[in-house]
């Protein structure tokens, strides 16, 4: 990445940050990131975070699980080794379907939940051993940090951005040069 100046504006209240972000965005400032100890409801549309599509993934994983369970049970119970248990022969999948409902359901849930959880961790990049990169340790406690980049706000100068930020009720402002 090219050399850039990053502003970390710290707030001590989620609603102040939200209002500040609204104000900045209306002036054409691009907010790059927000770090918060808990989800700030309503911040996503303001700073342009799109809704996640993980729900669709969960559905697809669930569908995969359902399919696997169906194919598997059909093979084990009907095709490969049909057993006559308690006078109930295994002629066709459809006739024996009722007995397969519980496991079809369980396996669907199993695949959907785990598939989604693994995808969630992967796309987040939150995995065992990964180092955290929140700009200040207090952002997991009671502080909220908004991150702006100079390169993404080409029409403003550093001084102008600083002035804009200071007008939004910040408690601290940090500036960092990255190479």
């Amino acid at each position: 990445m090219a050399a850039d100046t990053v502003f970390y504006a710290m707030y001590d209240d989620d609603d102040v940050l939200k209002n500040g972000a609204k104000k900045l965005v209306s002036k054409g400032v691009k907010v790059n990131e927000v770090f918060s100890p808990f989800p700030i409801h309503g911040i996503d549309p303001i700073i342009g975070v799109k809704n996640t599509r993980l729900g669709i993934m969960a559905f697809l994983y669930g569908l995969t699980g359902l399919m696997l369970a169906t194919v598997g049970m059909n093979y084990f119970m009907i095709q490969d080794w049909p057993m006559n248990i308690g006078g109930k022969p295994s002629f066709s999948y459809l006739e024996n379907f009722l007995a397969f409902v519980p496991i079809s359901f369980e396996f669907t849930v199993l695949c959907a939940a785990h598939g989604m959880a693994i995808t969630y961790l992967l796309v987040n990049g939150t995995l065992p051993g990964v180092k955290a990169d929140n700009p200040d340790p207090r952002t997991t406690d009671d502080k909220f940090v908004m991150e702006l980049r100079l390169s993404e706000n080409a029409k403003f100068s550093a001084a102008e951005l600083e002035a804009l930020l200071k007008d939004t009720g910040i408690v601290e402002l940090d500036q960092k040069e990255i190479k």
Binding site: D13, P37, M73, L110
Partner: protein, 484 residues
């Protein structure tokens, strides 16, 4: 901003700020453990190790060391299994079903209830495994290609459904729990001073840094997992009940079993949550977050599910007579008046009468009373499973094979041992894990916190304009606070 009616009792008492919530939850983990913790931990560990010893002896000798006989082939093992699975139902119900219903009071209790769920399901899973006798072939319950043909497991059998149900339930609950834990571990990581705990919590928190996009995903994942876990909770105990209901044993062969078992499971699960939380909130000074209102809410759940269980007992009794099947009728006459009458009436008293006392507001808001009832309910629910299992089989179709069940010391040792192990796990959890979903609790501070309800909030106000007003009014407010 989600406003809440002022007449609703606040969920967070006192004038907490975000930082105070972090402090209150993290302090007990960062401080040295109190002496009482070591005492309890040692007791639990000794009992748990005794249980492990009994299990090892059982595995070395065979399940003949249990008091089972030709007539009573299932007794304490399955009783304990169903009891533990039942206890393991509250956690996911609290976090999943109550999340879907947007019940904010769940946030204070979901973390520890889920931990309890997971440990209880561990204990439950132990019983079918050791019941196999040859635990080293436990993998035979999975449909793996093998040298017998391949001879597959029987997918028509409720016992196999149970394998899938319990393992799905355990692993999905574990994932649900852990995903919620990640941000809270990050909080502890960022506060940690000692290098070792910084490293450990750094590892556990998976590098969480609280980005907006991550929170967006987090919320959706929690919601979808809740949606998936809700039918799962109901299915698991339904399937456990199928172990009995699909058989042809009088007393087991009833269609009422699935809802009856699910209600019973929620009933006993909430009772166990009460037992644990009433002690935990006191010991860890979390009274501001888990207070009388939470206890009252849980008592209402206990009352409702207890009533469902009561109705189920009575309809079972009625149907056994109304069906005209004499085997069925005898099974129930034998339960109530046979040699195990005392367990039947213990069950009836503990499970049908005691939850009805919760109709009295005074009683359901009394912490001591709740604690006693929660233990009574757990005893009652153990007896329920014992009654269903042993009294239904001990008098067979053939009077010549009628017999009784007497537990051996191994039976008792394994059961008591699992209670010990359960507390070992739970005590470790309270020592090293954030016992409250602290970051989730912060999201309800402004809508359900006491100070925001009575307008005494000293932390920043709702909007920027209001904040300026608040700052100018700060002086007056602080004066007011001093007067209190």
């Amino acid at each position: 901003m989600h406003k809440e009616a002022a007449i609703r009792e606040p969920l967070i008492l006192g004038h907490k700020t975000y930082h105070e919530i972090t402090e209150d939850v993290c302090k007990p983990i960062e401080d040295k453990a109190p002496r009482m913790w070591y005492v309890l931990f040692s007791i639990a560990l000794i009992i748990g190790l005794y249980g492990v010893g009994c299990i090892l002896y059982l595995l070395g000798t065979g399940i003949g060391t249990w008091g089972l006989n030709k007539t009573v082939g299932w007794a304490w093992d399955i009783t304990n299994f169903v009891w533990w699975v039942g206890i393991g139902h509250a956690g996911t119900l609290i976090s999943a079903v109550l999340l879907l219903f947007r019940q904010k009071w769940r946030m204070a209790i979901n973390r520890s209830a889920e931990a309890m769920t997971i440990f209880a399901v561990f204990m439950a899973g132990l019983f079918p495994l050791i019941h196999m006798g040859r635990i080293w072939v436990a993998y035979w319950v999975l449909p793996l290609p093998n040298q017998f043909g391949s001879l597959w497991v029987n997918f028509n059998s409720p016992l196999l459904w149970d394998v899938f149900a319990i393992s799905t339930y355990l692993s999905v609950s574990l994932v649900f729990w852990y995903i919620g834990l990640i941000p809270d571990f990050a909080t502890i990581r960022d506060r940690a001073k000692k290098p070792l705990s910084k490293r450990m919590y750094g590892m556990l928190s998976f590098g969480w840094s609280g980005r907006a996009k991550h929170w967006n995903r987090f919320e959706l994942v929690s919601l979808v997992l809740a949606g998936l876990a809700t039918p799962l909770v109901f299915s698991v105990h339904s399937i456990v009940s199928f172990d009995f209901a699909t058989s042809v044993i009088p007393g087991w062969h009833t269609t009422i079993f699935p809802p009856y078992f699910v209600a019973g499971a929620v009933f006993s699960g909430f009772a166990m949550v009460q037992t644990l939380l009433l002690v935990m909130r006191k010991a860890m000074r979390l009274e501001a977050y888990i207070h009388t209102k939470h206890v009252e809410y849980m008592n209402i759940v206990i009352m409702v599910t207890g009533s469902i269980v009561g109705v189920a007992y009575l309809s079972e009794l009625f149907i056994s007579w109304y069906s005209g099947v004499e085997y069925e009728a005898y099974a129930f006459i034998n339960r109530a008046t046979g040699p195990y009458w005392w367990s039947y009436w213990a069950m009836m008293t503990c499970n049908v009468i005691s939850p009805q006392l919760m109709w009295f507001k005074k009683l359901r808001r009394s912490l001591l009373f709740t604690f006693i009832i929660s233990i009574v309910v757990n005893i009652g629910m153990w007896f329920e499973r014992f009654v269903i299992i042993v009294t239904s089989v001990h008098r067979d179709y053939l009077p010549s094979s009628w017999s009784m069940f007497y537990p051996t010391h191994i039976d008792i040792g394994v059961f008591v041992g699992t209670i010990g192990l359960f507390f070992v796990f739970f005590l470790l959890f309270t020592r090293y894990f954030p016992v409250l979903a602290l970051n989730e609790v912060k999201t309800i501070l402004k809508s359900s916190g006491e100070s925001f309800k009575d307008g005494k909030a000293v932390s920043p106000a709702y909007s920027l304009d209001e904040q300026h007003l608040a700052v100018s009014a700060q002086g007056n407010k602080e004066d007011n606070n001093n007067e209190h």
